[in-house]
Symmetry: C2
Subunit: 160 residues, 2 copies
């Protein structure tokens, strides 16, 4: 099989192309935050504790790649700023991120259980990223699913 | 939703934990080659054209993370070396890599079509990475699928 590998040029391979855009740890963590509903620069910065220069560069990459989209907003008395929303292309990354996350939970289970539970908004059944060849399968999109804190979720703030 | 985000500590989040192990472009490209059947150091090096130091570090990370496993082999007249095989944990990354690759092909289709076609070994039907909540769904594993060159595959060598 290894010999077959070298018969072909894999530069256009989807993994390679996806990594050209996403293949950097901070970039995927910015996306994770976007899936958790974070939109503003200061919130990304607070969530990730990464340098503002790194964050700014990653957001620019994701906007250029069509994964995030800037939308202007203004707070009273401040200059207009951009917030960053997932585009349809960005939302469609959900299966890949969930597949990665569930793989980690299967093989290195977090000490107190999953921190997030993903369920079907309609049926309440758990949602899994799988490989399927079933033409009748009904793939779920981001709007079909619900992400809720799981048993391993650690609250940072005392309950009000 | 963004406010809920900050109620919880996400350090144990599966995406974060997966990226602690895999979150580097070369690491995922090493894995891609492993899925294409590459096992030996010189073949990884040839396939990726990355520095041997980088490659050696990435292989070490993947072995330490339980994703690749070294197996000794010897060529006649040479000292024994290790080849690197996917472990069950490594093979289980297939849905995540395929989800990433198919996302790229949906949104930035390669000029001449997909370079690889993934099909169900039994039915021949195309295989897709999807989110499902169907308790009856039959997830396919790596041994259930066939990866063959697609219309966009570029042969490097003339046919013999």
């Amino acid at each position: 099989m290894a010999s077959t590998r070298f018969d072909y040029d894999l530069e256009h391979c989807g993994v390679r192309r996806a990594l050209d855009l996403l293949g950097e740890k901070w970039t995927l963590l910015v996306l994770r935050e976007a899936f958790y509903g974070v939109r503003r620069f200061d919130d990304f910065s607070r969530a990730l504790s990464c340098g503002r220069g790194v964050l700014s560069a990653r957001l620019k990459t994701l906007v250029a790649g069509g994964v995030l989209e800037p939308h202007a907003y203004s707070e009273p008395g401040q200059r207009p700023r951009d917030e960053y929303r997932l585009t349809p292309k960005g939302r469609d990354l959900n299966p890949a991120l969930l597949a990665l996350s569930q793989w980690s939970e299967r093989w290195d289970p977090p000490p107190a259980g999953p921190i997030a539970l993903v369920s079907d908004r309609r049926s309440g059944l758990p949602v899994t990223a799988i490989l399927s060849s079933d033409p009748q399968a009904q793939p779920l999109s981001l709007s079909d699913i619900l992400i809720a804190p799981g048993p391993g979720a650690v609250r940072l703030l005392p309950k009000a």
